[in-house]
């Protein structure tokens, strides 16, 4: 497999804002590896396939990003019959082109009758322009009943018998521990795609994943990441730290974060060469604690909502530096630079600003508090 390196300098150059902020702050907490990144691979359970720990969730990735991911050395590509109503599988095929035999493809079938699932698999293989995939999953198993469903199992086993998939499994993002335990008990599944993140990883799920690994069932993690605020110290972003936190669990073979653009691809790719230092862990803990009630995705949807002109996204960013990174100096610096801070919030009777990700979350108390502490 071809190896590519992304130097630390290249990585830092990716985000202008991150660089600018990094210049303002000390780098004493820097935990990133100064060396060039390398590809890290792990074995995916009994499939014996060696997969890149940082792999690609293709759902939101445009075709050029998928193509570059392959060139960089990423070898596991996750898609589904339903993604973009089939166009995502076509994008994967177009991106891989004649190099399909050097990549591993995982796709998923919606739950249905055995016949409907097998018909859909044929459609998926046509879109992917291949005669087989490496891993075929029942999409969205949400209970023990889904794992043991005779129709789904019959479809997957027939597909495997006919050579249309090399391995089978289920994906799950609900009642994960129950589904993983059931899948191990079923003894027919080779690998599982599981929601597993810093925010969604109770002891029960961790144990289930460890048990799966022992039983030879490969684990692929999805929905691994948190918000993507730049790290003021220039080290890992919470996004990267959360991905690395998942990969620090040796029971996980790989993760499939979605990547919308080349920047995200390179940020995620660089994680393979980083180590999660104590400072990164502490930072991650603080970040999650500070943002648990907001889960701000930095989507900017609150921008322009305030009738009094408060620059809500920027105030939230400053609050993040204050509570998430515990960097009061940086928070004050940025807050002072705001042309429309949260002063009007002190006298405002009714806040109308809505958080797109968390409807019903009252932003005014946070904005008001930020002003009191930073003004």
């Amino acid at each position: 497999m071809k190896k590519h390196g992304v130097s630390r300098r290249d990585f830092l150059r990716l985000g202008a804002s991150a660089v600018a902020l990094g210049a303002l702050a000390p780098r004493s907490l820097l935990a990133a590896d100064e060396e060039s990144s390398t590809i890290e691979k792990r074995v995916l359970g009994r499939t014996r396939l060696e997969v890149t720990t940082v792999s690609l969730g293709c759902m939101v990735a445009p075709q050029p990003v998928i193509a570059k991911a392959f060139d960089m050395g990423i070898n596991w590509f996750d898609t589904a019959h339903a993604y973009k109503r089939g166009r995502n599988e076509v994008e994967v095929a177009d991106a891989l082109g004649d190099k399909r035999d050097k990549a591993y493809i995982c796709t998923k079938l919606p739950k249905g009758s055995t016949k409907s699932m097998l018909d859909r698999l044929d459609t998926s293989l046509q879109r992917l322009r291949t005669d087989h995939v490496e891993l075929l999953l029942t999409h969205g198993a949400a209970s023990r009943g889904d794992v043991f469903n005779d129709d789904y199992i019959a479809a997957l086993e027939k597909a495997k018998k006919d050579g249309k998939t090399r391995f089978i499994g289920v994906s799950t993002h609900a009642r994960m521990a129950e589904v993983v335990n059931a899948a191990v008990e079923a003894k027919i599944y080779d690998a599982l795609l599981v929601k597993y993140s810093y925010n969604a990883s109770g002891d029960e799920l961790k144990k289930a994943i460890a048990d799966a690994k022992k039983a030879g069932v490969g684990i692929i993690a999805m929905k691994t990441q948190l918000g993507n605020f730049p790290n003021p110290d220039g080290g890992m972003t919470p996004h990267q730290a959360a991905l690395k936190w998942v990969l620090d669990d040796e029971n996980v073979a790989c993760a499939v974060p979605g990547m919308r653009n080349f920047q995200q691809l390179e940020q995620n790719f660089a994680v393979m060469a980083k180590r999660l230092a104590l400072f990164d862990r502490r930072r991650l803990e603080r970040y999650v604690a500070a943002t648990a009630h907001l889960q701000c995705a930095s989507c900017g949807e609150c921008d322009g909502q305030c009738p009094y002109g408060v620059d809500v996204p920027e105030v939230r960013r400053c609050a993040m530096y204050l509570d998430g990174y515990r960097d009061e100096e940086l928070a004050r610096e940025n807050y002072e630079a705001l042309t429309a801070n949260a002063a009007p919030c002190l006298d405002c009777e009714t806040c109308t600003v809505q958080c797109a990700r968390n409807r019903g979350v009252a932003l005014q108390p946070m904005l008001r508090e930020a002003h009191r502490r930073l003004a």
């Binding site: 050029p64 993604y83 109503r85 993002h173 979605g258 653009n261 995705a297």
Partner: protein, 334 residues
């Protein structure tokens, strides 16, 4: 009235309109039942206003057609309903989803059930964006809303800030039913503007049908391309894509061009970066996207992707910018 206040008013109006939509969904059910039974629809007890910040209030159960379970999702829970497709919707500005499940009345048990999904995308362009993202080449066009499609027992359309999908979870043929329901729902949404005005600037000659898309973030995989309108073209000379980026200021356009130049240097080459006074242009080749010409003029950036002849690409971009100027003047200086 300030721009912020205007935005607030529009958002409030949209939310109320959304509430009204689901309150009236039952009317569709009634109409559907009426088709098979020749009975008069029962008046709907419209509840109208938003019940909570979490979603829209569905109407109470109705005689003749029973609204079953109603569900609502936000950005955090959307994946529970549509799995891994959720991030795509969130990228397009997803605000909330309300699902109405309509069961046939007990005396009409043979009628297939209906499911109506109303996605509030926050803005017309976002609704169009996610609609276009959901169109498959195998779909048939459906006259519903500003644009619609039908495939099997699923119909979808966009109108106002809403992307609406009507489906029937049955193995029987229910296409006529979902088409009729989709048209009914579309008729309840107020939106007189029709298609997106920006697309009027795109030349119709050589346009690949159904290729016009709006991408809210990271168009072509490039993080600096936000709020971008794109369309594909094809003739004997080849295949190319034209794009328009809606920026807020000339300063933002300059930043866009700088970011674009950096992206080309990172994954390709910059052949020419020219400051032409009122206009700036970056011409280069991206390793994974192809030849790209990006021109900034005022608060607009226009581009051509795929044509290796710079002069040809420039003609395309200039036409696009000129068309946009006409569209803007027709719209009263939009």
């Amino acid at each position: 009235m300030t721009e912020s206040a205007i935005r607030q008013a529009i958002r409030r109006h949209d939310r109320i309109a959304g509430g009204v939509i689901l309150c009236l969904l039952a009317a569709v059910g009634i109409a559907v039942c009426a088709v098979g039974r020749n009975v008069e629809p029962v008046p709907i007890p419209v509840e109208g206003e938003l019940a909570s910040a979490d979603g829209y209030a569905p109407p109470a159960d109705l005689s003749g057609y029973a609204l079953g379970e109603t569900l609502s999702f936000n950005a955090e829970t959307l994946y529970e309903y549509i799995n891994g497709q959720a991030p795509r919707y969130i990228d397009f500005g997803f605000q909330g989803l309300t699902v109405g499940q309509y069961d046939p009345a007990s005396d009409e048990a043979s009628a297939p059930p209906l499911v109506v999904d109303v996605y509030d995308m926050g803005a017309r362009r976002n609704a169009y964006g996610i609609f276009a993202d959901n169109v498959s080449p195998e779909d048939d066009a459906l006259e519903a809303g500003n644009a619609g499609i039908v495939s099997g027992n699923m119909a979808a359309f966009w109108k106002g800030p809403y992307f609406v999908r009507v489906s029937s979870p049955t193995d029987d043929d229910a296409q006529e039913l979902v088409m009729r329901a989709a048209r009914e729902v579309a008729g309840m949404i107020e939106d007189d503007e029709g298609g997106l005005r920006w697309f009027k600037a795109f030349p119709s000659e050589n346009l690949v049908p159904d290729s016009r898309v709006f991408v809210k973030s990271s168009a072509l995989g490039l993080a600096h391309f936000e709020s971008t309108f794109l369309a594909d073209y094809e003739n004997d000379d080849g295949v190319w894509t034209l794009l328009l980026c809606d920026m807020e200021s000339p300063e933002q356009v300059r930043e866009l061009l700088e970011a674009h130049e950096a992206a080309l240097r990172s994954d390709g080459e910059v052949i020419e970066a020219a400051d032409e006074g009122e206009q700036n242009a970056v011409w280069g080749k991206h390793k994974y996207i192809g030849p790209m010409l990006l021109v900034g003029r005022g608060d607009i950036a226009a581009g051509c992707v795929g044509l290796s002849d710079r002069a040809h690409a420039r003609v395309q971009v200039d036409d696009l910018l000129e068309n946009l100027r006409s569209v803007r003047s027709e719209a009263g200086g939009e």
